[in-house]
């Protein structure tokens, strides 16, 4: 085989897990390639995390424009141009995707366009436009990501029934919207469209919105969303979607079995994701698949010599930063770096960029209690923070959960302005195994929202100063 087609590492998939893995492998002196069938940056950068943040920024500005009076400005007859909002979002994605291309060049990572299939030990076949090319690699890292989950009867059609992909690039603004699923993806779209004025109904099969978050935070989020005019239907399923010419009539069924019908312009399906395990030759290679993800060891090893898996493909939590970290771990394992540590999922933060924002890390209060530990909980509301008041963002809460005996920080749950930017402080503390004492002794700058992080720690001992 030509030397040009022979690598130390080939990463299959150029999303956040894949491209980061490739960069790290290249940094460690490995001859590396990354195979991508679409655009570098994957869903995250092109159809997920990044473009939605651009959209949500627009809706945030729209929201603030309607509060101009409060801040001493005046203005009226505000309009938004949907095409421009979408165009900006796409431009942001393109800029960053191009940036990944540049990073690949900088680190001398070969980018192979096409779809890859495992083709025997250390071999990979990449098909592009019907033409297959063979590659060899001592190590193959699978990072093919995931896609939206669909259920029978709840299939997207790209026109009236959307997934995140269509919801990201609307041509017309839907006056009414049904969002199926209240996880991060569903709630972010619900928040975006509601803020811009759509009638939004969110259906959640579980008994609360943002069901992976702490119950108290879920409840506060639900209250805030309801106040914004969002209709939340928890404990409810969608049994039928009946498409009209330019609308959809959905049949909703609650826990008691009561049904109702709602007619909306568009439906967004956000019922979770499934791993892209198909057409990469997993079965023939002997890679074990469970449900829709590849079964891996704690360092991403699949059990098949020289084949690794990371990111969404390797199972939850389905988060870009988790995938990136796994990419680094696998690259370092391959390079034989000493002292590589497996990923600790309880230290992986989660952020939802709805309005108000939600961020968390570690165990919820309920989970911490279930673990049988004696716990102590500290809470601090935004209303007690000077910066929050000055910003005009007095609503929100930070909640800390500690092991009462060891002072271990078990979990933190936040809702309110900018909490997605605050959570990292607690993640650092958790990763470094700081206890309540070190956090209490940390000096937080005044006036900042971060002071609430300090107060929420002090509150766990009944020692919060500003409440």
């Amino acid at each position: 085989m030509a030397d040009a087609n022979n690598f130390d590492v080939i990463v299959v998939g150029g999303g956040p897990g894949g491209y980061v893995c490739a960069i790290r492998a290249a940094q460690l002196g490995l001859k590396t390639a990354v195979v991508e069938r679409d655009k570098l940056g994957g869903i995250c950068l092109n159809w997920g995390c990044i473009p939605t943040k651009a959209l949500l920024r627009s809706s945030e500005i729209w929201h603030l424009m309607h509060r101009l009076n409060e801040f001493g400005f005046s203005g009226e007859n505000f309009k938004f141009d949907l095409a421009k909002i979408v165009a900006r979002s796409r431009a942001v994605s393109k800029q960053l995707s191009d940036g990944i291309g540049f990073l690949m060049k900088k680190h001398k990572v070969t980018v192979i366009a096409g779809e890859a299939t495992l083709a025997g030990k250390g071999k990979l076949s990449v098909t592009k436009d019907g033409k297959a090319t063979d590659y060899a690699a001592k190590n193959i890292v699978l990072a093919t990501g995931a896609r939206a989950r669909t259920l029978p009867g709840l299939e997207p059609d790209g026109k009236l029934v959307w997934t995140y992909r269509e919801a990201m690039v609307p041509e017309t603004f839907p006056k009414s919207l049904l969002v199926v699923g209240s996880g991060a993806i569903g709630i972010e779209f619900a928040s975006f469209y509601r803020t811009l004025g759509a009638e939004v109904t969110v259906v959640e099969v579980l008994d609360r919105v943002l069901p992976v978050e702490d119950e108290e935070i879920s409840a506060l989020a639900a209250k805030a969303f309801a106040k914004q005019g969002m209709k939340l239907k928890t404990g409810t399923t969608v049994t039928e979607l009946k498409k009209g010419a330019d609308n959809v009539t959905a049949t909703l069924k609650d826990k008691a079995g009561k049904t109702e019908q709602v007619t909306v312009d568009r439906v967004i399906l956000a019922m979770g994701i499934v791993g892209n395990v198909e057409n990469i030759g997993l079965e023939q290679a002997g890679v074990k698949v469970e449900k829709t993800h590849v079964v891996v060891g704690k360092y991403g090893e699949t059990g098949v010599d020289g084949v690794w898996a990371i990111g969404d493909l390797a199972g939850p939590p389905w988060l870009a930063h988790k995938a990136m970290h796994e990419g680094v771990i696998v690259a370092e394992k391959i390079a034989g770096v000493k002292g590589v540590h497996p990923l600790n999922t309880t230290n992986v933060p989660g952020c939802t960029y709805c309005w108000p924002q939600v961020a968390s890390v570690g165990l919820t209060e309920a989970k911490a209690k279930e673990s049988g530990r004696k716990i102590k909980v500290g809470k601090f509301p935004f209303i007690g923070n000077g910066k929050a008041i000055a910003l005009g963002e007095p609503e929100g809460l930070i909640k800390t959960v500690f092991d009462a005996e060891t002072g271990e920080l078990l979990g933190v749950h936040m809702i309110g302005a900018e909490v997605t930017e605050l959570i990292q402080g607690y993640v650092v503390a958790k990763t470094g195994e700081l206890t309540d004492k070190e956090l209490a002794h940390t000096i937080f700058p005044h006036p900042t929202l971060s002071e609430m992080m300090h107060e929420a720690v002090l509150a766990a001992d009944g020692a919060a100063l500003h409440i």
Partner: protein, 453 residues
């Protein structure tokens, strides 16, 4: 495929051992059951058998190597047809392997060269190695070398009584993290044993804690008697005393003939009250307490306490008397015993002992003191040694007065003889000082009348 033969764990608590002797050599064919080597722990030497068959390709740890960690590769076993050259395993020089863990090496280097006895039995039989090892290898905290551990790991270690110096860290640059401390918890295997994670040695820098004894006995083969506060206090005080005070011992025999005669006369002369009970009944121990007080007056350097900056020489002879209780022991003090007569001393001791049995002593009645007397003569004990009762510096262990043949003026005679062994804190009382004191004490006991001089 070539496989590594690993250092076996011969007991649940074994962490490392000595590869005493190889019984096979490179190139030997072995089968399951072949004795490969003799492995020595601090308790025993045991034979180590092969589990698989094959050829000894390479011996990685030479015989006589000490401190070989459990599960470290000690040899390579080849399958038929494999050559020793194909052996991939690097020579597992244990200290070298430790370098990978970065700073953990420093912590490791500070561990005592002699592994502390991991079993209470062994500790009782051979108490010497622990304090000696600890003294030779000062703890990292003391010599200024820092142990890298996360705050959470430190806190859990402190609450479980785990010595961080005994752990190697798995965190970044060998930092000790929560997982390391939790996996070090010896009681982890048995939830019932959650409370006392370590049986002793906790907190003594450089000394690994003793493992929980429960790990060494089958469940149900013992009854658990939870510690009461006195048991905890005894354990804490005496462990500190025996570990931290450099004890040495002096033994002397005392002829009690004269004392017995005086005592008989005095007791016979005791006035009787209305109920015909004598006003006092002097015991041999009362004489010993008085003699000790008088000897302390003559040798004030023994009546002293150690502090880091000075020796405190006490002005009164406050003599503690060990009193055995059903639930432990306590040492109430006869204050200013040098100023008190035998009858007063005797009655005071009786009264203190009675209140001790009812747990009604005030701390001021048993804390402090300058000297102690422990007497097991009533149980027929001939000779024993006591643990110093801090902050005091000396304690005498008094055996039974018994008829023994003695040589007097070249002739064998029978006399009532009692053996007294003094434990002394060498920081305060040097050998000759202790010996002079004991000689005076012997004189006062043998000739009670000389106390009047």
């Amino acid at each position: 495929m070539a496989t590594n033969i690993l250092m076996p764990a011969l007991s649940p608590t074994m962490e490392e051992g000595k590869l005493a002797k190889w019984l096979v050599k490179e190139g030997d064919t072995v089968k399951s059951g072949t004795i490969l080597a003799e492995i020595e722990t601090d308790k025993a030497t045991m034979e180590f058998e092969a589990v698989d068959e094959g050829i000894i390709g390479k011996i990685l740890v030479p015989e006589g190597s000490e401190g070989v960690k459990v599960n470290a590769p000690i040899a390579v076993l080849l399958e038929e047809g494999e050559s020793a050259d194909a052996v991939p395993a690097a020579k597992p020089d244990i200290p070298a392997a430790m370098k990978d863990i970065g700073d953990a090496v420093k912590a490791e280097a500070n561990k005592p060269a002699v592994a502390p006895a991991p079993q209470p039995v062994a500790a009782a039989k051979a108490p010497a190695p622990q304090p000696v090892a600890a003294a030779k290898a000062p703890a990292p905290a003391e010599d200024g070398k820092r142990i890298f551990a996360s705050p959470l790991a430190r806190r859990i270690a402190a609450s479980k009584g785990i010595d961080l110096a005994s752990l190697s860290g798995s965190g970044p640059r060998g930092r000790i993290v929560k997982a390391d401390v939790e996996s070090a918890k010896p009681a982890a295997a048995r939830p019932a044993a959650a409370a006392p994670a370590a049986a002793g040695g906790a907190g003594i820098p450089g000394v690994a804690p003793l493992p929980d004894a429960r790990l060494l006995y089958p469940e149900g083969s013992y009854e658990e008697i939870p510690h009461d506060s006195m048991r905890k206090a005894i354990a804490k005080r005496l462990t500190s005393a025996k570990t931290l005070i450099p004890h040495y011992y002096l033994t002397v025999d005392c002829n009690l003939d004269a004392l017995m005669a005086v005592r008989e006369k005095m007791n016979a002369a005791a006035p009787k009250g209305k109920d015909k009970a004598p006003a006092y009944k002097l015991s041999v121990n009362d004489f010993i307490v008085k003699a000790s007080a008088m000897a302390l007056v003559k040798h004030p350097e023994v009546n002293a306490s150690w502090t880091d900056t000075a020796i405190l020489r006490h002005k009164n002879a406050d003599v503690g008397v060990a009193v055995a209780l059903d639930f432990g022991l306590i040492t109430p003090i006869v204050f200013k015993a040098e100023t008190k007569g035998l009858v007063q001393i005797s009655n005071e001791i009786k009264e203190l002992a009675a209140r001790a049995r009812e747990k009604k002593l005030k701390p001021s009645e048993y804390e402090g003191g300058g000297f102690s007397v422990s007497n097991l003569g009533m149980f027929g004990i001939k000779n024993f040694t006591s643990i110093i009762n801090p902050p005091q510096s000396c304690i005498i262990a008094v055996g039974a007065g018994e008829e023994r043949p003695i040589v007097k003026d070249g002739k064998i005679e029978v006399a009532t003889v009692m053996t007294v062994t003094m434990s002394a804190d060498h920081r305060v009382v040097d050998g000759s000082t202790g010996a002079r004191f004991l000689s005076t004490l012997k004189q006062f006991i043998e000739e009670p009348a000389s106390m009047l001089l």
